[in-house]
Amino acid sequence: MDAFFAAVEQASKPSLRGKPVIVGGLGPRGVVATASYEARVHGVHSAMAMAHARRLCPNAAYLVPRFDMYRTVSERVMGLLHELSPLVEPLSLDEAFVDLDAGPCGERLRRRPPEEMPEAVRAVGEALRAGIAAATGLTASVGIASSKLLAKIGSEAAKPDGLLVTAPGTERELLGPMPVRTLWGVGPATAEQLRKAAITTVAEIVEAGEAELVRLLGKAHGTGLYTMATGHDDRPVMAGRDVKSVSVEGTFDVDLTDRARVRAEVDRLAARCVQRLRGAGRSGRTVVLKVRRYDFTTLTRSETLRAPTDDPVVVKETAARLLDAVDTTGGVRLLGVGVAGLSDYTQEDLFTHGLADGLPEQRPTDADAEAPMPSTALQPSQPSSSRRWLPGQDVRHTEHGPGWVQGSGVGRVTIRFEVPGGEPGRICTLPVDDPELDASDPMPLVPGSGERVPGSG
């Protein structure tokens, strides 16, 4: 999908079409998740600090992500991919590999003579793109090739709203002029090592030869890179890749120094982590605590339990124990709690079910969880008003109808009343506590497409 989050926002909000849109964390330490192509012109890209993006492109619309919406659209697109083949390997919400050969069109394609193949697969790709546009109103780019690497490179090159078929035998032509960083497994370190050997493009890797690569990078990495540079990549498309861990983390707008606060945040993260773990129907044996301190030093500490658990009390206790061994006096920037070593069974604990008086060192965790947190830093901090309006949020007004929050401050909130697929709507500024204004579920992008958006929040 092209600039997925931003594209969804532009489709939902007609007034933003053709305008720079940036989706991400809006707090002082937020990061850009997606920038629309209009914003990319100004040099904004994903993973950039939000403050940096605001300097580059001050006039863009800055919105918080609406993950429920993206997930709904993503499920629809993945549904279309599954019609092509049972072998679909999602990489993220908006990207997936499809093994056409394993699907119904694989048989049809195989019967064609090889010289017609590129045209035949192009037709499949175009049909898919048209299907996605019809179902979601969004554009997608497709890369089709003989391997995962080439398909991915193809789809990157085809963006936005394009299609690139790399015919078998032309892989090296396409790869040759590309920088070495294009290849998987080449990061800053490997690239630097190759640069010292005067290798900057993929073609130069092939020229250097396998022996040279092995000498430079070692056996495994060298051989692998050489094979990939020659356009060979025989990794299969893996449907339903196993989840290895479940984790939750959050960056604080202001470093936390109060130890009690840090402990309470770890508790909250542990609870959220267990919620996600249970949502996935899993349990895990290893509890991981991640702490990034004020100076960006990042520590991870883990403890492996004797048996898998999905008990929030056990995860909280373990995370709290791990925290005890970490010095946080300078301040904490980020905290994360994760569970790894996943299983599908849970060794229950005799003491966590209210059967006994509990272990002596066990804190009254339920009370902790219920205790109100002083201005939760995991969300952008807001005035202590009971109602918080975040830019991009869906709302409904009893008189003006559906719309979205453009901004809020000094007791007022600005709403643009418009619906997906309609004309750009008008702006209205209302008091933040207007009783007729309420948060609402997102509207489907394509009316009557059967999209159902679950309640957000």
């Binding site: 129907g281 899993r282 349990s283 403890e303 004797r306 048996a307 999905d310 124990r321 299983s343 599908d344 069974y345 849970t346 060794q347 229950e348 604990d349 005799l350 003491f351 059967l355 006994a356 008086d357 509990g358 272990l359 002596p360 060192e361």
Partner: protein
């Protein structure tokens, strides 16, 4: 100092005392065994600030005295000596060990730097060694092994008149056993949490026929210590702080179903089926009238199924356990027949032993085991 002692007597005493030597001594002198010869007896002591061990054996003492030597070295030497009388004597800062035609000269460690051993608390009562050893090994099996929750690495000893109750848990199972003993005072009442590993070591080193005295200090000298003494061997160990969670309410008293299975075929079946249960993945038990079906493994992996005869009184039950926890319990009940009582598949099940199928179950030992919940 100079004394003579039988080689076997020496070797056994040194080996026993050396077991309490710390693997990584916090101070160099603690790597030493303290040898004291006086009034026709030789005593050997080891101490690591937590556990102290002292054994006393008969010896032919020519010259009284005290010396501190490397415990490991003395243990290795005495084990390897020929079967002849051993003569140990001091000569300045050296110790000479002579046995037959072998002669060893060892350095001594400074006796004056050796800490005083804790005083043995006054005796509280006595129990036959084998009774004590059996009860300890039955209960200590359920104690926790990791130090994250030190309380759970202990065995709780509760003395109430002529009954001693031992209890241990690693939070997944809970073992409780009791035995009768002879207290010094009939209305004695005390509770102590003893490190399970130490207690198990002590129980194992007792030989049948011995009588062991338990000494628990209420207050004053030897507070926070428990002492064990039998057959000339005396051990003290520091108690763990804290107490186990209250467990009386944990043990269910009413059950939806009760299964009775012959222990030996049950254990065999669990062991076989558990071969496919990698890393203690659960073993699933389904009880219906007359038959217990055991299953383990998943369709992605190897699978195993086996049926054994079982009597079931009450509703059918499907429940899953960690196979190691189940086997631990089955070996601990040490009875020809096992009885498993259930409330529901998510509540703890109670395992106890029976001398025969139609006999009453043994009330002196209970093993509570928490089931594994299968998701999805």
């Amino acid at each position: 100092m100079k004394f003579r002692v039988e080689r076997d007597v020496l070797a056994e005493a040194v080996a026993w005392a050396a077991r309490s030597l710390p693997a990584r001594p916090p101070a160099p002198v603690l790597a030493g065994l303290l040898l004291k010869a006086e009034e026709g007896r030789l005593s050997l002591s080891a101490f690591d600030y937590e556990v102290s061990a002292r054994v006393s054996v008969e010896a032919e003492v020519e010259e009284e005295g005290t010396v501190l030597v490397s415990g490991r070295l003395l243990a290795d030497i005495s084990r390897a000596l020929p079967n002849r009388p051993v003569e140990i004597s001091t000569d300045g800062v050296r110790v000479t060990v002579v046995c037959g035609s072998s002669r060893f000269t060892l350095h001594t460690l400074p006796v004056e730097e050796y800490p005083a051993l804790p005083q043995m608390p006054t005796a509280s009562g006595t129990v036959p060694g084998e009774v004590f050893a059996a009860a300890v090994s039955q209960v200590a099996i359920a104690a926790g092994r990791d130090d994250t929750l030190p309380v759970l690495t202990g065995v709780r000893i509760e003395i109430e008149g002529d009954t001693v109750t031992l209890a241990a848990t690693d939070r997944y199972r809970f073992a409780v056993g009791e035995f009768l003993w002879k207290p010094e005072t009939p209305d004695l009442s005390a509770v102590a949490l003893v490190p399970a590993k130490t207690l198990l070591d002590i129980a194992k080193s007792l030989t049948s026929g011995d009588t062991v005295a338990l000494a628990l200090a209420g207050s004053g000298a030897g507070e926070g210590l428990i002492g064990f003494e039998g057959a000339g061997r005396r051990t003290t160990t520091r108690l763990l702080e804290g107490d186990l969670p209250k467990y009386r309410t944990l043990f269910p008293t009413e059950f939806a179903s009760v299964a009775v299975i012959e222990t030996a075929p049950f254990v065999e079946a669990v062991k076989r089926v558990a071969l496919v249960a990698e890393r203690n993945t659960p073993i699933r038990l389904s009880f219906t009238a007359g038959v217990l079906t055991l299953e383990a493994g998943s369709s992605d992996d190897a699978q195993a199924v086996e049926r054994v005869d079982a009597q079931l009184d009450g509703e059918d039950v499907s429940i899953a356990f960690n196979p190691t926890f189940l086997l631990d319990g089955l070996s601990a009940i040490d009875s020809p027949v096992a009885q498993l009582s259930f409330t529901t598949a998510t509540k703890p099940a109670l395992l106890s032993g029976k001398p025969a199928i139609d006999a009453e179950s043994d009330e002196t030992y209970k093993y509570l085991i928490m089931p594994v919940r299968l998701s999805g």
